[in-house]
Amino acid sequence: MEQLFSGYMIYSLSFLLIFIALATILHLQFSIGGIVNFGIVGFWGLGMYAFALLNLKLNIPFVPAVLLASALTGIVSMALGRIILNLDDQAVLVGTLAFATIIEYLATTEKWLTNGVMGFGTIKFPFDLGANTLFVYFLVVLVFLILLMFYVSKIKTSPYGRLLLSIKDNEILSQSLGKPTFRHKIIFFTVTCSLIGFFGAMTAPLYNYIFPRMIGPGITFTIWIALMLGGRKKLLGGFIGILATIGLFDYVIETVVPIPTQYAEMVPNVKFALYGLTLMLVLMFRPLGILGDKKREVKG
């Protein structure tokens, strides 16, 4: 049990916080804004790479580099949004998925900048408090996650949230009530994607060293599965879902459960198979996730 309280636990928990943040932003984008973002990892990776490059290659200090990386992710997502956000859901899905693939490829092919598949580092924490550095950084991430959750919970009962729901439900009707829906969607997409970029930048020091394989589509799928599992319509859906997927497998099973070495390498593969199975069961018996109601709402 000792290792539960070791630095490794704080390290794993920090990652959990980051992924809970991503799942919460996805909940905001999908269940309130109606945007099917299948490229979360792209925005996250862009924020992470942009931050690392600014911080290491241009020697920009931590805080301004994080802000610049988030802003850059925002600008890129705004450009992407202008192209895809007036199309239908499937197009948005494919567009964002393609975007994430482009980011992954660019990170691989632009060797002069990113050192290709080898990756680059070392990204340092913004402060050095000796043995407590990681723990304090964990607390910083936690504070940002709590702020994010508070924001999302507030949005739900605000005029802005109502506007987003109206666009999700019936965009033309919302337009006919005088709402410039396309502009609102672009602004919303820009803001939420720069938030993803922000958490991407915050992830970089935890990884220390970054390379393209980290930003593969698996992360997008895991976060989607987590959100569907936890309850896509609930604020805590992402939280519960991430605990039940990444929390359970990457942390509890890999660190706590004593798995014989000869089976250890099977874990990641079994993990994805189990994610899939769990998702199927959830969709069959609890379509709205663990926190959602048992059945789909009956439409009036």
Binding site: Y151, K154, I155, T157, S158, P159, Y160, G161, R162, L163, L165, S166, K168, D169, N170, I172, L173, S174, Q175, S176, L177, G178, K179, P180, T181, H184, I187, F188, V191, K299, G300
Partner: protein, 254 residues
């Protein structure tokens, strides 16, 4: 007579080779409530669609008058039109499935100042400022559960009309507003329409198959057939007109 609100000049819409709407010169809004009637396929819904920018025009000009300013609305988007005061109710039932009846009205009453991603603490202020207005409508129409969803088709239709009314439009297009509404609610809607046109200067154009409604509420009626507006006049003139009787009501005078 009032000032005109809309002026259509040489408006033409073709689908394939067929001309569906062909209007030489017509003005709307010079009376409080105006009616548009005509047989099926006359082009009424297309005309409404042209005015509300749901259908694109092939040719012509639609001018909108606001505070003595003349504006060509053929390049305006749906939401711009709505903010300018040109609003339409829907013929086919439309609703927001995530919003309760009250939420729907709050949405309608919120303006762009309320709806900013960085402003999430203004719910109370909006509710306070709009409470009277919303309660007035909810009481008037006796919704069963204003904090629930509009359930029946009638409630949804009614909600659609109220959502438009609270926008305080200058010109309201109503496409079959009372189809599917219970009688007592129809009477209330009519009373509301009369009140709005008298007290707030709203102009309303109704498209309706229910001719009794047209004869009782309209001050001016347009008769449309085969894409053209053939005749306009008071309800009495229209119902006695030979062409209207021949083309629309059949020989049996009704």
């Amino acid at each position: 007579m009032r000032e005109k609100v809309l002026h259509l000049r040489n408006v033409i819409k073709r689908f394939g080779g067929r001309t569906v709407v062909d209007i030489k010169d017509i003005t709307f809004g010079t009376h409080g409530i105006e009616g548009l009637i005509g047989p099926n396929g006359a082009g009424k819904t297309t005309l409404i669609g042209l005015i509300s920018r749901k259908v694109s025009m092939d040719q012509g000009q639609i001018l909108y008058y606001q505070d003595k300013n003349e504006m060509d609305i053929s390049k305006k988007s749906l939401d711009e039109l709505s903010r300018m005061g040109l609003v339409r109710t829907n013929q086919i039932i439309q609703d927001f499935e995530s919003l309760s009846i009250r939420d729907s009205l709050l949405l309608s009453l919120a303006n762009s100042k309320h709806e900013k991603f960085y402003n999430i603490f203004n719910e109370k202020e909006l509710r306070k400022n709009t409470e009277k207005e919303i309660e007035k409508y909810l009481d008037y129409f006796n919704f069963e559960d204003p904090d629930g969803h509009a359930l029946s088709a009638g409630e949804k239709k009614l909600l659609d009309i109220i959502r438009c009314m609270v926008l305080k439009p200058k010109f309201l297009l109503m496409d079959e507003p009372t189809a599917g509404l219970p009688h007592d609610q129809t009477d209330k809607v009519i009373e509301l329409m009369k009140k709005k046109t008298k007290e707030e200067g709203m102009a309303i154009l109704i498209v309706e198959h229910d001719l009794d409604l047209i004869w009782t509420v309209s001050e001016n009626v347009y008769f449309m057939s085969e894409g053209e507006i053939l005749i306009k006049g008071t309800p009495d003139e229209i119902r006695k007109n030979k062409t209207v009787i021949n083309k629309y009501m059949g020989e049996s005078e009704c």
